[in-house]
């Protein structure tokens, strides 16, 4: 059996380059073997720069897959050890953390869907703080990138959450009586935690695409970043898009870029999505029900999907999709200090009573 070679049309080359190459008879990489850029330039009519670029792309793509390890096939055993060693980002609700495994997972894209007011932005703010606190307190000692498309990022609210988080860390430190903890506490000031969040505001989908495009370079220069939040992804795409096919292409392309970023930089990407009404097709129950927005194709894009919804007066988090965790629904609440667990027997426990009051259906997200 002949060792057939990879066709040139399967490389990420510009369409007109591919045309010129095939018109000149170059069909597989075998045809390009041993060719210098100058020769290629003469045979195909491409400029010298373009010829070099073509040969580079082909060589790089080839080399990437011949070398062992890296992006070329990792043993599941190594990946298991890595997965087990990577912590998650805590949400401060133990139930939600347990539902997700160990908090919002790193190396994956998590989608939070929900109606307005259910707490999507609260989760985002909470995570942006939680990722920064030192490891001894359950955090990742990292930084966060917060991309805001709706203007729902309110600094005062963030400060409340930071204050409550710092108090939480102080409690832990007091219990542990450890020098190390006291040291770490010193750096936990409101200012410090505010600077750990890189904030960007986008007004339309073009700006959003530009930021996502520039993110990999940013992440390379800021290795401490462990969380990227996009709140919300739906907003710029819900209106002004007549061509649904184009919207699907753009959204799925963004999704794949984010999935790649999450895996490559070992960060967590959290996106928020709205809900939209879907009319039931015939042959089912009548009426309409709420589904996450942005369409069916988008729905497959995120690795983890959590649907936040109401059950009567109670906020619930439903883990709808996850590769490793079972489908579960847990209750949670939003307090002045952020996301917290529901305490089933008594709503007001001694520890939390003084400064935390449950916040009912305010339009906070």
């Amino acid at each position: 059996m002949m060792d057939t070679q990879r066709e040139l049309c399967t490389f990420p080359l510009a369409p007109n380059h591919k045309l010129k190459l095939s018109a000149a008879g170059f069909q597989t990489i075998q045809d390009l073997k041993g060719i210098k850029p100058a020769e290629l330039c003469k045979d195909t009519g491409l400029s010298l720069d373009d010829s070099e670029g073509v040969l580079n792309t082909v060589n790089v793509a080839e080399k990437m897959h011949w070398k062992s390890g890296g992006r070329c096939g990792l043993s599941a055993l190594d990946m298991l050890h890595e997965e087990q060693s990577l912590p998650g980002i805590i949400t401060f609700s133990e139930r939600v953390d347990r539902m997700l495994g160990a908090g919002v997972p790193l190396c994956k894209v998590t989608e939070l869907c929900g109606e307005p007011g259910v707490g999507k932005t609260q989760f985002c703010l909470q995570l942006a703080v939680g990722v920064q606190i030192p490891e001894v307190f359950g955090g990742l000692h990292g930084e966060a990138v917060y991309i805001d498309t709706e203007g729902s990022f309110i600094t005062e609210r963030l400060v409340d959450i930071i204050a409550a988080t710092v108090r939480h860390c102080e409690h832990i430190s007091q219990k542990e009586h450890n020098e190390e903890f006291v040291e770490h506490l010193k750096s936990l000031t409101v200012e410090h935690l505010l600077t750990g969040i890189h904030y960007h505001r986008c007004h339309d989908y073009i700006q959003l695409l530009a930021i996502v495009h520039l993110l990999p370079a940013f992440l390379k220069n800021h290795p401490k970043v462990k969380l990227v939040v996009i709140d919300s992804l739906a907003a710029p795409f819900q209106h002004d898009f007549e061509d649904f096919s184009l919207r699907t292409r753009i959204l799925t392309s963004v999704a794949q870029n984010l999935v790649k970023m999450a895996a490559e930089f070992k960060i967590s990407v959290v996106l928020t999505n709205k809900m939209t009404t879907k009319l039931n097709s015939s042959g089912g129950d009548s009426g309409a029900h709420l589904v996450p927005a942005l369409g069916e194709s988008w729905g497959h894009a995120c690795t983890v999907r959590v649907i936040l919804h109401w059950e009567g007066n109670q906020r619930m988090a439903w883990l709808y999709k996850s590769p490793s965790q079972t489908e579960t629904t847990v209750p949670y609440q939003i307090t002045t200090g952020g996301i917290r667990d529901i305490i089933m027997e008594e709503r007001y426990q001694a520890e939390n009573a003084e400064d935390e009051t449950p916040v009912k259906q305010q339009k906070l997200s």
Binding site: C9, T28, K260, W318, P323, E327
Partner: protein, 323 residues
Amino acid sequence: MALLKAGLCTALNNTVLENLRSVGIKTTLDFITKDLEAVAQQASVPYKDLLAIRRVILAQYSGFPLNGAELYDNGVLTMAILSTGCTSIDELLDGGLYTAEVTEVAGSIAAGKTQMCFTSAASVICKTKQNVIFVDTCGSFSAERISIILEENGESEPEQFLSQVRCFTAFDVYELIGALETIRHNKQRQMDPFFESLKLLIVDNVASVIYPILGGPQSDGQSLITIIGQKLKILAVEFSLAVLITNNLVSSEWGGTLSASLGRVWSHVPHTRLVILPHGNKHTAETPERETRREMMIVKSSRGPTNKCCNFIIASSRLSSVR
């Protein structure tokens, strides 16, 4: 394959190559389709030499004819049926995943496609002791989950089996093609023992890398779909692998029926297509470790009748049949 290069055979030296180029013959295709007598005159190359070159080109570049009886003996030797780890699905598939075939599982969000991939992988590595490659395009690979599946099925040391699974990441269509080419190259060269015992290739999920290029004004989306389909089938047939791919379920053009996505061109690709029928689960209470029931239907088969169904459960341990 296409360009004529000196040294292809003794008759094809640099001078002859130049002469041929001067009359517009650059590729093997150009050479084959021209009338050799005319070429001999125009390019001043001896007819005998041209005949010799033609013979070498035909021998090297055309498909190799295989005799039916030999192919049959070979097929019987190399064919294997791999259990998916769930008896009801195995029954539906008339035994399980067949080697030399591409089996597609289509389902809506959270239907259980990835869980089926994990369960099949776990079944292959511990029952047959062969190797599995998992090509992950959507970030869904979880070694922990495979480890739990192995544990709950009685393997006390799941870690010893995990080295039989390798994960390739491929987040766009070119990376996917690159990954498939790498696998093909390694199987051909036969230097890495891992690829010698490779039996199952999983791609989860094919649609993720195709959606960004599908539907535009250019035809590159359709051609890349054709190429990916072709490469998957070539891997299955030439190396006797079972190929398991996942796809999404979308509403067809005028609503109503759900069908596998990626369109008409892709619909021809798999040998067998399974659909996990849509479920309408609504959960209200906190109930960990709950089993979720699904129904699976075989909608396309190159081996037999279709439209048969089976039921299965996604449990914490794996996909299992309904009792």
